[in-house]
Symmetry: C2
Subunit: 386 residues, 2 copies
């Protein structure tokens, strides 16, 4: 029986020391304890060996990763979905890498990997990947392919995805598309959905997607001095059917106007999307037709959802929650299908992404970069590019 | 060609005058305009010809009909389901007969009717029949058969239904059974449901039915000086698993106790039944497990249903309405099946009905009788027997 000769060990060590010349120095923004991001985030620097790659693994390089409010809640420890803290990056203390969305490029694939080749674009299959880092080694199954711009053009598409579109595809566009399509059958050319937060990122995606699906939209936005301008922009640039203020939303008199609009299309308001709560959610629910559904995906007012008893009993209105993370966790097929649809619209130039405030990482200290971006979050959604 | 001789008319008239000797003088409690029952209800007296019965019709005699809060709301015009106002009882002005629940006995059946025979018991197939009357003529399809006591005993059952059980079977017992069984699969011996209004009529039916199904119940009842006594009664007489006060329901500390009880059974609180609203509904919803459902069937506090956003998004709790009228309107098969189950439990002596305050009609003025009972409603559910 053949046995591995003992001298293979020193030789292997020798080979390894040669291989270590092919190392990538990576940085990740990590936390081991929960707290305010400014206090608990730090940079962990580690080496990735480009050789000796597991057969099913890939090495990826980050192209961009955004900062979402839920990323911060994870760091604070107040979010129900949490990345696992591990010592996999060679630390003594278990730590987690921040960030959930991101766009990556394949640098190298293991010998068994067929779904990727070098240069492909990819996004994480699931949340909690830890996208605030320069590079990663992972199992190929942890990433889903996204056509890169060259591939889109080679496929005859009008245009390729931008880095921002790729890096922010997994949360807001999927949330909007799935809320509009996964629960209620809205009849094209007739039916309506109503949403508050109509000028938010998800709100604008929902408006555009409803237009692409032929569904009428009624968007409620906060009262503001330049209401007419914002409303006009939502109609012209995003295809909103009607835009009203929260004051109009809350007005029983104004309801007659809404009913008139709906009657003209011969449809019904069958779906409500609520990201505000409080009296805004009540007024959204009141506008639903018989058997209507309101999906709550946010609570910007910090007020609970408030539903008159009679809407439940006599109009059979149902109030449910929507969390894209939970819905897609065990349904990768749905995630792929939904993402394909969004990509297609982006490639056809039919969908506008939400602009991010982009900052290019300069190779210095990664955590410092993210922390600065976090403190600038009020200026808009922050995207770190690499 | 044969033509009807002209002399048939006088003969027919003569026959009719003989038949009119077989007339029933009926009374009904009617309203033509909406308003307070004391103001708008009146007695309409009319004749029912026992002969010349349509082939598909039946003549029925009322055994009992209760006064439900929704009956009064119908009269007031504030209830979404309304009886049609007609001139069918021979009035010039269209009017409606009050009442929705009732127990009837078949007096006579038309020549085509096979589903009933004289002496059978029956309840209305649908709501809005108008049950506050001494007799009625209707299509046989407007009534569903209920085994009368002789039939139950002849079928070898332990006992027959009482008049109160028959007259009040269509709303509360069906509501309780359907809320427990029609939406969520509760695992016998493990799972729980929680309800507020645990000492109400529906609450007691839900408690008993859950016990018969092997489901654990957690009943919330109002704080009261004799809480221990009421709780003990609900456990001993109705089979409640646990009974807590609204104060305990609202206490975050007490939640640990509830979690302990649920853990001991290895199940989950998968269903909540809410007939109160306001903060009681919030506390009920908070006790639901992941993917839990809260059904609202009443709003005794006159407060809306209030749901924390996080319950919707992160626990995927859904809040829906329940209205037995709407559910069963187009599903007579479900109504029959559900009623059969309730009847079976009554016949086996396994289900207690909710006692009514029974008053026997003395043959005088029917509207006066119902109005007096309505004014006594605070003393308990009123049932007029005949």
């Amino acid at each position: 029986m053949f046995r591995t000769p003992t001298f293979t060990r020193p030789i292997a060590t020798a080979v390894k020391s040669i291989q270590s010349l092919r190392m990538i120095t990576a940085q990740a923004v990590v936390f081991s304890d929960h707290g305010e991001p400014g206090d608990v985030l730090s940079t962990h620097t580690y080496e990735i060996n480009e050789e000796n790659l597991d057969a099913n693994s890939i090495i990826i390089k980050t192209l961009a990763s955004p900062i979402n409010p839920s990323d911060l809640n994870q760091v604070q420890g107040v979010y129900p979905s949490q990345p696992e803290k591990t010592t996999a990056l060679g630390t003594e203390k278990p730590l987690a890498v921040g960030g959930n969305e991101g766009l990556f490029q394949i640098l190298k694939v293991g010998s068994n990997v067929t779904k990727f080749k070098e240069g492909d674009w990819a996004v994480p299959t699931s949340v909690n990947f830890g996208t605030w880092r320069t590079h990663a080694v992972c199992d190929a199954e942890q990433m889903m392919k996204l056509r890169n711009p060259e591939q889109s053009l080679a496929d005859g598409k009008k245009q390729g995805l931008t880095v921002n579109q790729g890096a922010t595809i997994c949360v807001n566009p999927l949330t909007a598309y799935l809320m509009l399509t996964h629960y209620v059958k809205l009849t094209s050319g007739k039916d309506w959905f109503i949403q508050n937060g109509g000028n938010s990122a998800v709100g604008k995606f929902a408006t555009q997607i409803s237009r692409l699906l032929g569904i009428n939209s009624l968007s409620v936005i906060r009262d503001r001095p330049n209401f007419d301008e914002v409303a006009e922009n939502l109609k012209k640039e995003y295809g909103a059917t009607q835009v009203i203020t929260e004051e109009q939303n809350n007005s029983r008199d104004f309801n007659a106007e809404v009913k008139k609009w709906v009657k003209e299309t011969g449809g019904e308001i069958k779906l409500g999307l609520n990201c505000v709560g409080g009296k805004s959610s009540t007024a959204v629910a009141r506008k639903l037709g018989q058997n209507g559904l309101m999906l709550t995906y946010g609570g910007m007012s910090f007020q609970p959802v408030i539903l008159p008893t009679s809407l439940h009993i006599f109009k059979n209105v149902t109030s449910a929650g929507f969390w894209v993370t939970a819905l897609l966790k065990n349904d990768l097929e749905l995630k792929q299908k939904t993402m394909d649809k969004i990509v297609e619209w982006y490639e056809e130039g039919q969908l506008k992404d939400a602009a991010s405030v982009e900052t290019k990482f300069d190779g210095s200290d990664l955590a410092k970069f993210y922390k600065e971006a976090i403190s600038n979050s009020k200026e808009g959604k922050q995207l770190i590019t690499y």
